[in-house]
């Protein structure tokens, strides 16, 4: 399998990372190298094998439905690029 430069542009778009033409070329070459290694997986017979998503087979814990965190809005927003009146500012989305 070979990724085309269109594939690279498509996934960069999905990942919301701007890439220029030069980066696209380099990325295409490198990702094809990486997928050359990844392709080894296809040779393994995994029929009937349960996918393993975590090391321990434990169920997610449940907790009581009550507030455990205090309000830290100011501290958390102090590290934001732009806030006003307690809101995160982003470019206008809805015309």
């Amino acid at each position: 399998m070979q990724l085309s430069s269109d594939d690279i542009r498509r996934i960069a778009r999905l990942a919301r990372i701007a890439i220029d033409e030069q980066e696209t070329v380099a990325m295409q070459q490198q990702l094809n190298g990486i997928f050359g290694v990844i392709e080894q997986l296809q040779s393994v017979n995994t029929d009937g094998v349960e996918p393993m998503s975590h090391a321990q087979d434990v169920a997610l814990r449940l907790r009581e439905d009550k507030v455990t965190e205090s309000n830290q809005r100011e501290a958390l927003q102090a590290v934001a690029p732009a806030v006003e009146a307690g809101l995160y500012l982003v470019p206008k989305v809805i015309e």
Partner: protein, 544 residues
């Protein structure tokens, strides 16, 4: 109309008025050595005999001296800070150092001791990998995208270290978002291997390993997603433990691949790693994968005899691809283990080779999801001139995301995000991600069948000693292949320890990795500790 709506309506105009937006002043980085001292202390100053003596202490020795009243936390911290100031400009092991904060913590530790409230490690200074959020400390994770991020809260590991009274010496350099095996992917410059400054220190916890090797801290916290504790510990001639997945809280530990990431200690000795793990390990309800287990004293089994310990040697780990110098040092170490009463048995981990493709699907997939949080909105870097990139295909918000992430992430991080986005994308999920998870199960089963024949598994930590800075340059595949001996442990979620066993080519350190079954940290620490009672590799230190 509620005032919130007003703010929403005006946000676009607001942004145009303040294109650079609000940036909190990173107050702690102002005093960082990188910023302040690079120019002023260009040459290496030999440490005075006094400093040399103080800073070569193990964690245990430092704790004992504090307990006996022979030194104070302030004195210890000052001594380490002096050594850091002289050596950091050369080695680049720390991203942030904040003398005032450190000394303030040391004062508090001394006060705590004066009140009779000291724990075993109260007042001992340690370094933290710059991946653990620490309130009031700049936490970059080695990335430009978090260059201005001063954490508003403490990670679980940091809270536990604070509770124990440990003093923070600084924040160690690392591969960006823990993605790398050489520390060359840091946005804050490469770390030099203290044994040979033309060599890499390993990665991603290269700063933490180098700090311990250079005696800039008696111990450091670190994380291991695919070998990031064990491989740099081996490359730098120090001891590092990657615990069983779920033992150390991931809360506030910047996420790379959540099903693999695990925090752990790096120190000179196994005993020190045990003391650190006693502090770091424990249930944390804020991490959904943190295990609820009874507390364990990891120093409890250190003194046990190794008589009858069965050490498995996987034949796949000692064949083609392992360099002769590493093999020789490891065989000598295993002979030493035999003298201690251990028995060596050959085992097979037949699918070892598949750890590389499985890891390089699963880790990037999880990374692409985890790193979607860096969007230039809630924290971290926001592109200043994203508006130039708005066009018929790209809205203002998309341009903000795309430019902020393009500017903030380094090349390797982008590679892994794109790899992950691809394997998770429509039509490819089953072929790659699901397939890799099935292979992960098979790899894990191989370890279990191995453990039916032995108690611990011996392996190299890496196929070679530390390579030269720049050697693997722009070849990600060459770098990935060097992770062959460490990735399987993360995929299976097992614990592993690396400890120094000698020197290979060009006088660079060699590490032996011991892998245990789930929750066998005490056994691994015991084995390494017994080895360290009869050998002195762990006491060797680079001439700096």
């Amino acid at each position: 109309m509620p005032s919130q709506f007003v703010a929403l309506q005006h946000r676009c105009a607001y942004l145009q008025a303040f294109p650079v937006a609000f940036r909190p002043t990173p107050f702690c980085c102002r005093s960082s050595l990188n910023n302040e001292l690079h120019g002023t202390l260009p040459t290496l100053r030999p440490a005075s005999p006094f400093e040399q003596a103080m800073t070569t202490y193990t964690l245990k020795q430092a704790a004992d001296l504090l307990a006996s009243g022979k030194t104070s936390a302030v004195e210890l911290a000052s001594d380490y800070l002096a050594r850091i100031e002289s050596l950091n400009p050369v080695l680049n092991t720390f991203i942030t150092v904040d003398r005032e904060k450190t000394l303030e913590m040391a004062k508090q530790a001394d006060a705590r001791r004066a009140q009779g409230q000291a724990g075993v490690l109260t007042g001992v200074p340690v370094a933290h990998k710059d991946i653990f959020c620490a309130e009031g400390w700049r936490t970059t994770c080695g990335s430009k995208i978090l260059d201005n991020f001063v954490s508003p809260y403490d990670a679980g590991v940091i809270s536990r270290c604070k509770d124990a009274g440990l003093v923070t010496l600084g924040r160690t350099n690392m591969d960006e978002f823990a993605m790398g095996s050489s520390n060359e992917n840091s946005a804050y410059g490469v770390v030099k291997n203290p044994w040979d400054q033309t060599a890499v220190p390993g990665g991603s916890s290269g700063g933490s390993a180098a700090v311990v090797a250079a005696r800039l801290a008696p111990a450091a916290t670190a994380t291991d997603t695919g070998g990031s504790i064990r491989q740099p510990a081996a490359f730098c001639g120090v001891t590092g433990l990657k615990p069983t997945y779920g033992i150390v809280s991931r809360y506030g530990m910047v996420a790379y691949a959540s099903s693999l990431d695990q925090g752990g200690p790096i120190a000179q000795t196994a005993e020190d790693c045990a003391l650190m793990l006693n502090v770091m390990a424990g249930h944390d309800p804020r991490d959904s994968t943190s295990l609820e287990r009874a507390g364990e004293d990891y120093t409890g089994a250190l003194a046990q005899s190794l008589k009858g310990l069965r050490i498995g040697m996987p034949k796949e780990y000692f064949g083609e691809g392992l360099s002769a110098d590493v093999q020789a040092a490891i065989e000598a170490a295993l002979a030493e283990y035999r003298k201690l009463g251990a028995e060596i048995v050959e085992i097979s981990l037949p699918r070892t080779q598949l750890a590389i493709p499985a890891y390089y699907v699963i880790a990037p997939a999880e990374a692409s999801s985890n790193l979607s949080r860096f969007d230039g909105v809630r924290y971290g870097h926001r592109a200043a001139d994203y508006q130039k990139h708005i066009n018929e295909k790209t809205s203002a918000l998309e341009a903000l995301y795309e430019q902020s992430r393009a500017e903030g992430f380094g090349t390797e991080v982008k590679r892994r995000i794109l790899t992950g986005a691809y394997v998770l994308s429509h039509g490819y999920y089953d072929a790659y991600y699901l397939k890799a998870q099935k292979v992960r199960r098979l790899l894990s089963e191989d370890f279990q069948s191995g453990f039916s024949q032995c108690d611990v598994i011996a392996a190299p930590a890496a196929p070679t000693v530390a390579w030269n800075l720049g050697e693997k340059g722009d070849d990600p595949v060459a770098m990935y292949l060097a992770d062959i001996y460490t990735l399987g442990v993360n995929l299976a979620g097992l614990p592993g320890i690396a400890h120094p066993v000698g020197f290979g080519a060009q006088g660079r350190p060699v590490g032996l990795q011991l892998i245990g079954n789930y929750f066998s940290e005490s056994r691994l620490l015991n084995a390494a500790h017994q080895f360290q009672q009869v050998t002195d590799w762990h006491t060797r230190q680079p001439g700096l």
